[in-house]
């Protein structure tokens, strides 16, 4: 993988910030977009923008073909059995809420247990809190060890004690921890527990083979994998989708509507009410092509290399403390850290002056912050367009922070 060649395809990387080249280290929040995706958006609006499914004229048929084509590409990207197992959503958050409202309200009853982990993103906590409150169900949290890995013995115990659902992240957006999900799913299933995997931080960065992992639900955000904002998807096993009641009601998700009742459309359309983000889905299809052309194992290898380099360089800066597993092969391209003298916000502000964009805050993982006993952390997250020189500049920036707060 030639990083310089890849970088040339991302127009935003040519921009400067405060007179310095932009160094974008916040792909964990949202990724940048290659020219191919931007061009696909322009082409859509300049050549065949139309509502899908419902039109019998030429441009509507073109839009429908591209929209459903994107579903096929997305399905094959994660090795789903069929395109009907992919429901387009705004992102991971909407996808998890869809499951909580539709599957959850039907299947979770009083006293039922839902297993979560302390490393979850708020998007994989709040929907279950709301559901648990409505149904009087119970939430149980698996803790992490000192390296930021799941305490699997604790998880095993909870699984054995029984639960209706296990909802966990594939890769932590703070610790970077890659959870051993295949093994976890196997155990959960043998205890009759349904598993939702939050793939927001894995699907963009590594090969995720849903049939190999075997989970029941997978959620992901297109905008974190080179696609437009407002794009993302839910994968669910077809039988589950078919049994689930609808979530949003409206146009296109119905077969027949009468004054007092209605019949639903087939899956996945049953869950796609109203005019969808057609541009977003088409852009997601193009993003998937882009990633598959590069090869997800190459993407992963690149990120392992740069993450390893970052772990090394950052730990050389005095006063920096890094969170998460020390071994690169059990972590994603996310490095959260604190400095003893400076608050994460101040770190981020000073780095911004150097053109370096990192995130500072709770990263939508307040329970994890509480567990780590920090109010906030700074976080650099990498993607296929980042290079080692950028890590050097990051480390240099942190030296400046140290000087300012010395």
């Amino acid at each position: 993988m030639n990083v310089e060649e890849i970088r040339r395809q991302f127009p935003i990387l040519r921009r400067t910030v405060h007179g310095k080249p932009l160094i974008y280290l916040d792909s964990g929040a949202t990724s940048q977009k290659p020219q191919a995706v931007i061009d696909a958006i322009c082409r859509y609006y300049s050549e065949y923008n139309a509502n899908v499914h419902r039109g019998v004229y030429q441009i509507s048929e073109e839009a429908t073909a591209e929209y459903e084509g994107a579903r096929k590409k997305t399905a094959s990207f994660i090795n789903a059995k069929e395109p009907a197992e992919i429901v387009f959503t705004r992102g991971t958050t909407e996808a998890i809420n869809l499951v909580a409202y539709s599957w959850g309200r039907k299947n979770i009853a009083q006293g039922d247990k839902i297993i979560l982990t302390v490393m979850e993103h708020h998007s994989n906590i709040i929907p279950w809190q709301l559901l648990a409150k409505e149904k009087k169900a119970e939430l149980e949290y698996v803790d992490i060890d000192e390296e930021g890995k799941l305490k699997t013995d604790e998880l095993d115990e909870l699984i054995e004690r029984g639960a209706k659902l296990l909802a966990l992240t594939h890769v932590s957006n703070v610790l970077g921890t890659v959870n051993p999900v295949k093994e976890i799913v196997r155990k959960a299933h043998s205890n009759g527990i349904t598993v939702l995997l939050d793939g927001a931080q894995s699907v963009p960065h590594m090969l995720v083979d849903i049939q190999d992992i075997g989970c029941d639900f997978l959620t992901a955000s297109g905008h974190k994998m080179l696609a437009p904002t407002g794009s993302g998807f839910l994968y669910a096993r077809k039988e589950l989708l078919e049994e689930m009641p609808p979530f949003l009601g409206g146009g296109d998700m119905i077969r027949e509507v009468h004054l007092r009742d209605a019949k639903w459309n087939d899956v996945p359309w049953k869950f796609e009410a109203g005019t969808m983000h057609i541009e977003g889905a088409i852009g997601l299809g193009v993003a998937v092509d882009f990633l598959q052309n590069l090869g997800m194992s190459n993407v992963r290898a690149h990120e392992e290399k740069i993450t390893g380099y970052a772990l090394e360089k950052l730990s050389e800066v005095k006063g920096v403390r890094i969170y998460g597993p020390p071994d690169v092969d059990s972590r994603g391209g996310v490095v959260a850290f604190t400095m003893d003298s400076a608050h994460p916000h101040d770190i981020a502000s000073i780095l911004d002056g150097e053109g370096i964009a990192i995130r500072a805050g709770h990263h939508c993982a307040m329970p994890l912050m509480e567990r780590l006993n920090v109010p906030a952390t700074a976080r650099a997250s990498f993607y296929l367009y980042n290079k080692e020189e950028e890590v050097d500049l990051l480390a240099g920036g942190l030296e400046k922070v140290r000087q300012v707060f010395a």
Binding site: H343, H345, D346, S349, G361, H362, P375, A376, K400
Partner: protein
Amino acid sequence: MTYDIYREIILDHYKNPRNFGELENPDIKAKDSNPLCGDVIEIQMKVDAKGIVKDVRFNGQGCAISRASASMLTELVQGKTLDEVRAIGKKDVLDNLGNPDLGPARIKCALLALKVLKVGVYSYIGQAMEKDADLS
């Protein structure tokens, strides 16, 4: 350049915050957090019968900006009447900080202490703070 905002005086207040800590039986006590980062500032005050601030403390966790701003604010209110405290505005706080070029995100850090202060004062005098233009 952005780190021009870390002037000596801000760093000094950050590293050596004035009036940091807690009061016994404060008359006013208020607390708020910045949803962006989870930073928390609490302000406590003792007020005498004439409505004059006799003593003030702040505590909590925060970045240099929010902490320095809180620290400076406590210096500012000491000995003032509550009416004078109510009159303190955004501009005063930013002037105090030396009018750094804060972006929209960091300005919330700078104003967190002011917001907490006002919540405390308004609830002490039993008034809603809805109409305080400085808090939007």
